[in-house]
Amino acid sequence: MAEVAAAAAVAFVPSRRGWPRWLVGPLLAIAATVLALSVGRYPLPAWETLRFIAATLRLVDIEPDRYALLYNLIVEIRLPRVLAAILVGASLSVSGAAYQALFRNPLVSPGLLGVLAGASAGAALGIILGGNWLLVQACAFLTGLAAVGIGVGIAHLFGGGSLVMLILGGILSGALFTSLLSVVKYLADPYNQLPAIVYWLMGSLGQVNLADMGWAALPMTGGIVLLCFLGRALDALAMGDDEAQALGVPVKAVRLVTIATATLVSALTVSIAGMIGWIGLIVPHIARLLVGPGNARLLPAAASLGAAFLLFADGLARNLFATELPIGIVTELLGIPVFLLVLSRVRRGWSQ
């Protein structure tokens, strides 16, 4: 993990022009992936993980016993969790960056339209309805979508779908589901269900299995890639609706697709890993420092840095203490100093 920290520190050092800064995100993500596959209760040296990957690609030979052991450790135990960290981190970061452009506000995060509040309430409901993991996931996902649907619906019923009404609709919908979450907590059995809800809301990648990743990986990857392709359109939208439209951009369609995609991937992150805060707010800022505000580069950079960031946070969550920390706590604690560092590095200012 120390290498990742060092690499992250390097990423903050302003460098000379011409240096391909967009490479930092992907390289960090790859390094973090290899490290995350190596560390754990049975630590492997990073070169052994690399050798295993090479062997899987039939580039080198490892004796079968050793290969089977490594396969169990790396693929069956660690890979689902690493994949989840990559996809959840990338989803939240790219959604946050897209929302910041869409709402023309650098302080916006993916939960703006109520998806996280909705998914939390849904998950809590799932827990008191029986606590079956699949039920919890389905409830979280569906109420996440429903919350955004309500927020967007309010905006269209009362304000013609303007940006301000979208934000207000999201706030209302978020408040509604936050209070529903309180209702569910109040109704929950205080000895088993309530602690389960509380732990679930702190976020964890610990319950992820390969089957989960099997159904979630495709829509999440698709959503992340789709958002990355919308970068140029989002640049135009960040200048204002009229200007974007006068540049030939179908503003309403782009906005709808962005919100729908960001909602889908964000709701899936809550289904898989619970509430993981801060990452969707701060990673876009780190990415902006690195590659500038142009969304065509910013969104892929945010996705890869988000993956690296969450891998790093999950590494801390798993390995810092004998018992695992909820990852939501780690991202929050880690997020505050990182955000301060970013603030001190922002020279050109976001707005005037």
């Binding site: 640049d235 200048m239 030939g248 505000p293 050109r348 200012g349």
Partner: protein, 260 residues
């Protein structure tokens, strides 16, 4: 050539335009005058296709605006908004490159020739030294030039500007007017709204006045900008200062008669 014919528009039942007609052709600089809230910006947005009027028609090169594709419109008519603050520190060059979007579509990255085209218009407007600077840290006049450069990068021949002079200091206003004159000489058509009748008097080929939702007068500045028209437009009494040769120079408030 873009032409609004008998356009009507209302915001939530409050009529703003009740049969306004205005045209813009390449090679002319048209000033649109009107009191606050008269609907100048609304008329511009209708002519740009940003608002679709429930009554009347907007024709671009003889065809209904709605029948053109959005990108096709953007290659012919460009919008230069009022100077604003951008929420993110895009560089001047990045913003000008956005002008290549109508040609490239949403997904295609700007090519080397797009970059060259952007740099050419940036040089031409005299803001080459700002190309790498962030839009958030340059002055209002420089931002206005950046937005005009973006419109030129669209390769549209018609530029529709919403109060391009607002917020610019006197020197920047004169410099901008000079640049607009240069563009018009090169065959661009410019339609701009302004609050300053003197600017219209000195700087435009044509002046249109928007009063009560209609274009009340449209023609060369000298015949349109009479003291009576200014009084009707703004509800203030003015007199016209003339040079020794009789050429109209500027309006100023009418001297109060001391009756008491």
């Amino acid at each position: 050539m873009i032409e609004a014919r008998d356009v009507r528009f209302a915001y939530r039942g409050r009529p703003v335009l009740v049969g306004a007609s205005l045209s813009l052709a390449p090679g002319e600089l048209v000033c649109l005058l009107g009191a606050n809230g008269a609907g100048k910006s609304t008329l511009l947005k209708v002519m740009l296709g940003l608002l679709s009027p429930p009554g009347g028609a907007v024709l671009l090169d003889g065809r209904h605006l709605a029948d053109w594709g959005r990108r096709e419109v953007a290659k012919r008519v460009a919008y230069v908004p009022q100077v604003h603050a951008a929420p993110f520190p895009y560089s001047v060059r990045e913003i000008v490159l956005m002008g290549r979007m109508p040609a490239n579509g949403l997904f295609k990255a700007p090519t080397v020739s797009d970059r060259a085209a952007a740099d050419r218009v940036i040089e031409r407007l005299g803001i080459g030294h700002l190309a790498a600077r962030s839009y958030t840290e340059i002055s209002g006049g420089e931002r206005q030039l950046t937005l005009i450069a973006r419109a030129m990068a669209q390769e549209a021949r018609l530029l529709v500007m919403d109060e391009p002079m607002a917020g610019l200091d006197f020197g920047n206003q004169l410099r901008l007017l000079e640049r607009l004159d240069g563009l018009v000489e090169d065959g661009y058509g410019v339609l701009m709204t302004t609050h300053d009748p003197d600017q219209a008097l000195g700087g435009c080929n044509r002046v249109a006045m928007l009063i009560d939702g209609r274009i009340a007068a449209d023609g060369d500045p000298i015949s349109v900008l009479t003291t009576a028209a200014i009084e009707r437009l703004y509800g203030v009494r003015v007199e016209l200062l003339r040079a020794a040769g009789g050429a109209a120079l500027a309006f100023r408030p009418q001297a109060r008669s001391h009756a008491c």
